[in-house]
Symmetry: C2
Subunit: 341 residues, 2 copies
Amino acid sequence: MRQGKNVIVFENKPSVIAWASVVGKKEGEGPLGSGFDMIIDDATAGKDTWEQAESDLQKTSIAILLDKAGVSDTQIDAVYAGDLLNQCSGAGFGLRGYEIPFSGVYGACSTSVLSMINAAIGVNSGAFNKAVSSTSSHFCSAEKQFRYPLEYGGQRTPTSQWTVTGAGSALVSNNTGNYPRIEKAILGKIVDKGVTDANNMGAAMAPAAAQTIYEFLTDTNTTPENYDLILTGDLGMVGTSLLYELLENEYGIDIKSVHNDSGLMMYDLEEQDVHAGGSGCACCGTVLCSKILNELNSGKLNKVLVVATGALLSTVSSFQGESIPSIAHGVLLTSGRADDE
Amino acid sequence: MRQGKNVIVFENKPSVIAWASVVGKKEGEGPLGSGFDMIIDDATAGKDTWEQAESDLQKTSIAILLDKAGVSDTQIDAVYAGDLLNQCSGAGFGLRGYEIPFSGVYGACSTSVLSMINAAIGVNSGAFNKAVSSTSSHFCSAEKQFRYPLEYGGQRTPTSQWTVTGAGSALVSNNTGNYPRIEKAILGKIVDKGVTDANNMGAAMAPAAAQTIYEFLTDTNTTPENYDLILTGDLGMVGTSLLYELLENEYGIDIKSVHNDSGLMMYDLEEQDVHAGGSGCACCGTVLCSKILNELNSGKLNKVLVVATGALLSTVSSFQGESIPSIAHGVLLTSGRADDE
């Protein structure tokens, strides 16, 4: 069912019946540390390569998820998953071994929400009874692939963000018990304002976030005050201030009083030397699959719009001088206790 | 709605109301040449780089698609699209400029069918009224990324396949006129039998195809004779003979009389020097979005099971000695004229 031009309404209200997060040491030492299900002290996760470590994070987050939900992999009808690695190999290798039908997703750092939307569409329609959404990122595999080998010791620019090491997974089900519910969603369109600085993802992604938030509020006929929280994915400091500016100047919307950003929540920006904040698929993925879903479940939060952003570049496109196409996908989560609107 | 353990049933029978294919010169000279909507003689498509050329193919195929359907981009509720390039940049850059909500898909060479399944789930459920599935590949961008720069002139092994240059797009709609219909689908599970030879994709993918075909036939209680055609994606010569062997020896199923493979159909294997056949996302994508949908539309074909296969490797995973996880997704298309079963 659709509302307005852009919004999908899940009339059967698929629920998130379990969620799990695994993070690295640095993330565990941040302000949200106590909310994660597992913190790995060794960034290799006992594996030989960073890529294998990242896959292992995704594998582990799903193992914890299935355990928390008390279901086996063979009871899951689909997993929507992806990551930042070339050919989505974090997911491809992380999910190898599970007997779960796999639909690979690519949304860069918006993958957490994009996967959840697709899982919800399938569950809402009856195509699936239970579907998992999952994503991962790893600081070391991302630096190696997108920037410099860690051994090189390159200086990071002030606008750069720190890729979150971790994985977050959620189980979406047609079991409409007393769980957080997925009420609505919006798939974003590609926005490209000509930003070419691959060390300033926040600036590239902010216009996509602004457009998606504007469209969602317009189509649902709501204002920021109708939400307990509007959470963006990983805009960080630079992207967040640009988002405020764009929303106010272009759309006349002020979200400051209800907004937060996963990239600003993940680390202590004063103490943890992450420059403009956190980023990566796992940034929004693990914040969503810990604090946010915990608080929706407890009723501390009742209505949350999560808008995850992604920068759809590759190293090849950057080397070829291309600007950075960006996208933002949104999902409306409620505590399952209150009626929507 | 589900049938058996693995099959999704589209009770609202979403239709494919338009389809479009664009291919390169070599593909245009093959046996299917006359069925494609456009053949580009210049492999660069007038662009500066192979990657830009590939994006342009995808862009063009959607432009033709929208034109054939007589709709504008703003009337489309979602596009599911992906490709083989790092960070799915063929789709990300190809779709930039269209005002269509974009859900990125990664399924390697299974992307054509995986995208169509996701579009169909959304349309069947009412989340979308119209959704596009699209995919592309390009011989030159794929060789550069996965194997050797063309300038190097490397020898290709006998088991290697030729990546199809092209793009195929389909428009899935809830308009249940006299169009080919998407009746059922099956999402595949990851299968990895330990094949490590990145120049023998057919062997890596055949077990996934066998499993998906077996599960689909079992869950729908059908036999190969119930289909006019069982079309696999890009197994080529090596993978096709392995598929026959696996299906007969492990599952007691003989599909030979109704089977064909896009990788065997695309080129004249005697004359066009493509070794084991065609491959790439666009292999199944363009065969499906030309000959197959044309013949379903005309009623020459009534019931076709399309099973596209993907090898979920990356160059990094191969260099690290990993085997090749593979997957096969299936979709049941009917002419829309005959009842199913």
